[in-house]
Every structure is written in C-alpha cells, then in structure tokens.
C-alpha cells in the first residue's frame, strides 16, 4: 500500500528532529559532567604535562563543535566509551543487558493492557456499578503508588509471608542456568530450546516485577479506556447501530471499542515515558540485571560513560516507541491514512 508507506516515511522524517535533540542534549550533559576525564585517565600520579597530553589524545582540547562532531562519529560506529566498573565497552554491556529490561517492560505492559482494557470497558458500559467504582479507585490509587514501594510490598507478601514467589534476586535463581542466548529473552529462548524447567524458573522470577510495573501502568490505561469508551458509547453512531439491531458484542467491540482505542493508543506514549522510568526503580528493587540497574551501579560508582549510554539508549528507544505508536495510530484510524 503506497499510502501506508508514505505515512511511515513521513513519521520517520518527523522523528528525526527528536533524535537530533536527544543526541545534542546527551552531548551537553556529557560535557557538563563533574570531574576532568583527562585527569581521571592519567591517574593520581600524573603531572600536568601528561594530563595535557591525554586531554589532547582524547580530543578534549578542541572547541566544542569539533568535539560534538567527534561524538557523532563515535555514536555512528556504536561507540559509547568504556565502563570503568566492568572494563567493557558500554555499547556491549548495554546490548547484553537490554533484553532483560525489554522483557520486563513488555510483560508489565501486557499485564496492564490485559486488565485495563476489559476493566475500562466494563466500567464504561455500567456507569455507577461496582465495576465502575473499582475502576475509579484503581485509577486514582494507582497513580499515587510509588512503584518501588509496591514492589517491596509484593516481595514481602508473596516471598516472605506466603513463600509463593522466589527471592527477588534477578532473572533466575542460583540453581538454574541461563538458556542458550538466541533473542536474549529468557522466556522465549527457553521455549525455543525446549528447556521447560528454565522457562518455569524464569517466569517465576518475572512475575513479581512484571506485576509491579503492570500495577503502575494500570491506572492511566484504565482511566483513559473508561473515559473514551464513555464518550463513544454516548455518540450517535452507537445509537444507530443499536437501533439497527446489531448484537451487543458487535456494537461494543467493532463499533465502540475500535473508536475508543484511538485516545488510548495516544496515551500509550505517556505511559511508556513513565514505564521506562519506573523500570529503573523496579530493576533496583528486584536486582534485575537490566540496563536500569546497570546505570544505577554506574551512578553510584561515579562511572559516567554507562550513564550517558543508558540515557541515550532509553531516549532513542522512547523516540522509537513513539514512532511505532504514531504508525499504529495510522493503521487503526483510516482517517489518518487519508490525510497522509
């Protein structure tokens, strides 16, 4: 479909300024970082001359625009510096840890969607009922929950009191070995290679952190679904559809939900912004070896290259997600396609 292709291309072009802005801001943040990298690399015993030499070698004596071009060149080659703690290139570290974060975020989002959409629809179809009240309580209380606190509460209840969940210590317990890396997602890899015991172990570790994230994303999604469903159900075309004798299911799903989903998809962008931030906190609570805990470890040790790499990765991912949401919006709303 050429219309669709042009829509995707236009959206891609539209994302370029965001990416440029992200790169510039990350560069500025890098240069504002405390401490002199040249003095750091030279070591405490170095004299002024050798510090000066290292500064020249690192290119830090050049004017800022030249440094910026060098930074762009490095980025283009996937070069984000070396972590002082792990001794590895930051890009390699981040690539190795990214699947853990993505797996967690996606599972959290899937949980939230699985609950919030039916709940929002049920609340909107029966305003004033107990479902509606429950949806309202959830969407008000949910936005007030500090995500790290919910995580700890869940750990206390399901690990310490009930003993249902494994210890909050990363992606696998000590006795299980990681599945062969194919996608990096433990759930997927263990299924592909047929290691069902590993799948169970990985899923058991994932439940609580994913639930924590899901609870967090539940509130805005339920609220939005309910509000937009209410709006759509009151509109003329729904009355017409009902009057035409269409079944309740057809009216609700095909006519109402499909229209009501548009504002929900738009909110997804904001939800992702919060979710990626909450991810960092959840990773810390559950000792989850993703890029969030990588950044926290680096921050604590004043190791700034990983922090920069982390921020850039997160921002690029967020821009990419927004792009996908835009395209998705075009797919489910034919009107956008016509405009394009």
């Amino acid at each position: 479909m050429p219309v669709l292709v042009s829509l995707v291309l236009r959206r891609l072009l539209g994302a370029l300024p965001s990416i440029a802005a992200v790169v510039v801001v990350t560069f500025v943040l890098t240069r504002a970082l405390p401490g002199d990298p040249a003095a750091y690399f030279a070591g405490p015993a170095a004299d002024a001359q050798s510090v000066e030499e290292i500064r020249r070698k690192l290119g830090l004596d050049k004017p800022l625009p030249v440094q910026f071009l060098a930074y762009l060149g490095d980025l283009a080659q996937g070069e984000m510096g070396t972590s002082l703690i792990t001794g590895q290139p930051v890009s390699a570290d981040i690539l190795a840890r990214l699947p853990a974060s993505v797996e967690l975020t996606l599972c959290g989002l899937a949980l939230a969607l699985a609950v919030s959409l039916p709940l929002g629809v049920a609340a909107a179809t029966r305003p004033g009922s107990w479902v509606d009240h429950m949806a309202r309580v959830i969407s008000t209380a949910g936005v007030s929950l500090p995500v790290f606190f919910t995580g700890l509460l869940l750990v206390y209840i399901f690990y310490y009191l009930l003993g249902w969940a494994p210890a909050p210590m990363g992606r696998l317990d000590l006795f299980a070995s990681a599945p062969t890396t194919i996608t990096g997602f433990y759930l997927v890899d263990s299924l592909i290679t047929g290691q069902f015991a590993t799948f169970r172990a990985a899923a058991a570790q994932l439940v609580l952190p994913a639930l924590t994230l899901g609870l967090f994303a539940l509130a805005p999604l339920t609220r939005m679904t309910r509000a937009s469903m209410l709006g759509v159900l009151g509109s003329d075309f729904i009355r017409t559809a009902r009057a035409g004798g269409l079944s309740r299911g057809t009216v609700l799903v095909t006519y109402a939900l499909r229209n009501a989903l548009l504002p929900v998809v738009t909110t997804l962008g904001m939800v992702f912004s919060f979710l990626l931030g909450a991810n960092v906190l959840v990773e810390k609570v559950f000792a989850w070896p993703g890029i969030g805990s990588y950044a926290i470890e680096a921050l604590v040790a004043s190791d700034y290259a990983p922090v920069q790499g982390f921020i850039l990765t997160m921002a690029i991912m967020y821009v990419g997600l927004n792009l996908m949401i835009d395209i998705l919006y075009g797919l489910i709303d034919p009107r956008v396609r016509i405009e394009a």
Binding site: T30, S144, F149, L152, P168, L276, I311
Partner: protein, 281 residues
C-alpha cells in the same frame, strides 16, 4: 461570612473527599512546619541496643538498623520532601507558564522555538532525563529540585500556551488593548489571572508527581544522602530488610509517601471539579 468563603464551604460540604484532601494537605503542611518540634525522638540519634525493633508503645513505627526511631524520622522527613516538591513545582509553574503564555500570545517564531524546547524535554522518558540531569549537575538536593522542575516544565508550558491562545482574541482582551494597555500589561492583568484556575489544578496534580519523582531519585541513591531523613531514602534503607521480614522500616515511610501523593491527586481532582464541572470524572 464573605461570599467566597461561603462558596468554598458549600463546595467542601458537597464533596467530602475533596474536604478530606484539604485536611490532609493542611496536615502535611503542619508536619513540614512543626515536624522537628513534635517528633518524639531525635531522628538522627542511633542506639544499637534497640536496633530493628518492631512497632511498640515506645516506638510506634519501630526502629531501624541503627536503632533510630522511624516515627520521628518519618515526621521530620516531611519538611524536606515538601520543600523539594513545592520548590520544584513553583519553579516549573513560573517558568512553564511564562514560556507558555509567550508562545500562545505571540505565536510564530517564538511559539516554534519554545515548542522545540518543550518537545526536546518530552523526547526523553522523564524520570530518565531527571537521572541524567542530576548525574550531570552533581548529586545534591538542589539539583534534584532543578531536575524535577525541568521535567515538569512541559506540562505547564503546553497548558498555558493552549489557554492563552484560546483567549488571545477574546472580547475582554480586545477591550484592554483598545483602551491602550501594553502587551505585558494585558498578559499580566487580563490573560494570566484567567488561565490561573486550570493551572492550579495542574499544580496540585503535579505536586504528587514531584514528590514521587524526588523520592524515586533518592531511592536509587541520588540527591539526598543518608543519614538525612527523607521518605524515598528510608524506603531504600528498609528494602534490604524486607526479605528477612523486617517490614516496618520500609512500610511506614512508604505509606506516608503514598498518602501524600494520594492527597495531592485527590486535591487536584477536587479542584478540577470546583473549577470545571464538565470535566468531572
């Protein structure tokens, strides 16, 4: 009783939840003002003989790993948390509405330039941007405030821009212009007071988010340093003890934090109902 007060009393009687939120807000302010005076113990005094004690009559919220009284620490922490949230929200309110009003009023190049700045901030996941700013500027409470202010700025700027834009050609603005008022005077005396009510709703909802954000940053070890009492850092200190069953260290500061955010959110919803009955949820 003046009509304004009577209206307020009517609204609060009509909506007990909002009244409760106002009471909660007043309580928080009181804690922030008088916290150190009403705390039963010194929040920093450690006594390892009574470390890790569960809640008791002497220590209502129990004691932490250094034997410090958690109730006292929770009470004293209110001042710092409220200071961070109020300062951050005040900063983003002032600068955000200034930028938004200018963008909405003048349009054109100014609007585009300000819009670009706002879009740049929004291109980041907000909490991640706050982490980056604090890492870059240095690990202090002041920088937590600046970071929180920066990530909240877009909400005010966008709202102020939209509200100003809608009033740019309103009758009362035309009248003020025809009677010879300068742009600055019209903006300050006519437009700004008119966009203030929706902005105040945003302020109240934002306070909750600002507290959460600051607590989140100190939870991962940014900004506030131990042994300073602060809700986020107290939850972080209690986190290691949750797996061994000492729940009270993390629970009480977490609950208070949650209650504070909940209170601000209810307050925001209530204010919105008072100001705009159409948007009632």
């Amino acid at each position: 009783m003046s009509p304004a007060l009577r209206h307020m009393r009517y609204v609060l009687a009509e909506n007990p939840v909002t009244a409760g939120a106002f009471v909660g807000f007043a309580l928080l302010i009181a804690l922030a003002l008088f916290g150190p005076m009403i705390a039963p113990f010194d929040p920093l005094a450690s006594d390892t003989d009574i470390a890790l004690q569960p809640p008791s009559l002497a220590h209502w919220f129990g004691t932490d790993h250094l034997g410090r009284d958690i109730l006292s620490r929770v009470i004293v922490a209110a001042r710092l948390d409220m200071q961070i949230a109020l300062a951050a929200v005040a900063l983003s309110f002032v600068f955000g509405s200034l930028l938004g009003v200018l963008a909405g009023w003048y349009g054109g190049g100014i609007d585009r330039a300000i819009g670009r700045v706002v879009d740049t901030i929004m291109a980041f996941p907000l909490f991640v941007l706050a982490m980056g700013i604090v890492a870059a500027l240095g690990n202090t409470v002041g920088n937590i405030i600046y970071a929180t202010a920066i990530i909240n700025l877009p909400f005010y700027a966008r709202m102020a821009r939209a509200e100003t834009n809608a009033r740019r050609d309103a009758g009362f603005v035309e009248a003020a212009r025809l009677s010879g008022n300068s742009d600055a005077r019209i903006l300050a005396a006519q437009v700004f007071p008119n966009i203030l009510p929706p902005m105040m709703v945003q302020v109240s909802l934002n306070l909750g988010y600002a507290i959460l954000n600051a607590a989140g940053l100190s939870f991962i070890g940014l900004g506030v340093r131990p042994p300073t009492p602060e809700w986020g850092i107290m939850v972080a200190e209690g986190a290691t003890y949750i797996v061994s069953g000492e729940w009270w260290i993390a629970l009480f500061p977490g609950l208070v934090l949650m209650a504070a955010v909940f209170c601000f959110n209810l307050l925001g919803d209530g204010l919105r109902d008072i100001i705009d009955p159409r948007r009632r949820t």
